[in-house]
Symmetry: C2
Subunit: 221 residues, 2 copies
Amino acid sequence: MPRTALLRDSEAKLQHILQHSAQIFANRGFAGASMRDVSRSTGISLSGLYYYFKSKQELLYLIQKKAFTSVVHRLQSELPAVSNPQARLKLFISNHLDYFLAHPAEMKVLSHEDDALEEPYKKEIGAIKRRYYNLACEIFEDVTREKTAGLANPRIAILILYGMMNWIYKWHNAAVDPSAEELSETICSIFLHGALNGRNGATADGPGRNRLSLEKIGTPE
Amino acid sequence: MPRTALLRDSEAKLQHILQHSAQIFANRGFAGASMRDVSRSTGISLSGLYYYFKSKQELLYLIQKKAFTSVVHRLQSELPAVSNPQARLKLFISNHLDYFLAHPAEMKVLSHEDDALEEPYKKEIGAIKRRYYNLACEIFEDVTREKTAGLANPRIAILILYGMMNWIYKWHNAAVDPSAEELSETICSIFLHGALNGRNGATADGPGRNRLSLEKIGTPE
């Protein structure tokens, strides 16, 4: 096999392992999952697995790195096309939810197992998370700069927003609950304007006097 | 020792065990903690511990039961004195945060280890949680009933509110972050009226044209 095809094959196999491992960690918890579980689920021998990473810790690190990097890169590539501050915040939220509702196992592992990661991995993931958090703060500060009132403490505001988004792994049931798009709109609306002015699919035909129309600001300009 | 004093002593010892165990589960995770850790931390022999509960599962159940029961009872005892719907929602939030910021280990165990509980305990705790959730929904529906606009889906609204409150265990640092009172006010304000109208200690002297004063509705009438 030529070298590029080998690399492709190797990369595909790694992605296959990461996907199955995220599912196993989500189901059994990181502490409760074994390399043997990963081997069984992926159909790759234990010694075969160690070709791709040297420990369960490195596996957790690779899952977290892939997810956070994807989320941050996607956001960074889409932000430049959007200038309206509220639309940028909406993009931040929908980018986050799009990714994590499409990757529920990763969402659970990232939210639930962030404590489990040890050094030197912890530091590296911490740096990506900080970049993401700083982006969120900048976006939020641009929104508040436009207003004379509003929360002056972006740390608290952003961490409250993170809670709205990240707690979803505890309750979202794809069979009955709103899609990423609808949820993003609801969360963005509650965050900016409150539940009393919130917009939600179910109220689309109801009286909308005080309701914010996020469609208007949701389109990149 | 008379029987009542013995009972008192036994109850105090159980509370001592629950408190230490919550701390251990918070630090090491439920899966990673052993009865030997509990024994070491409480100074009670392994066989002594089994006088109070028969398994680590029962211990987790007792911690969860105590916390949820306290939170629900306190809320139920204070709600009748408050009639304004927004003040009742504020009470729901501040009751939750008062308890959990005063019991950070329990907050982490309840948020993080809810999956770890098995039957028959799971069912019983599930019933208390459902009662709490139904109370939250009723309180929220009373708030929206007063308004012509607003979220029509209380399930989503309440779960988003839960996220704002429960994610706190991930980030709250008592040394630098706002108190339970201030955070309750911020969360209630964001939830009802959005971050753009949010109120927060740091902005107390800033321009407040659009800012909601929650002090007004925070007093039971």
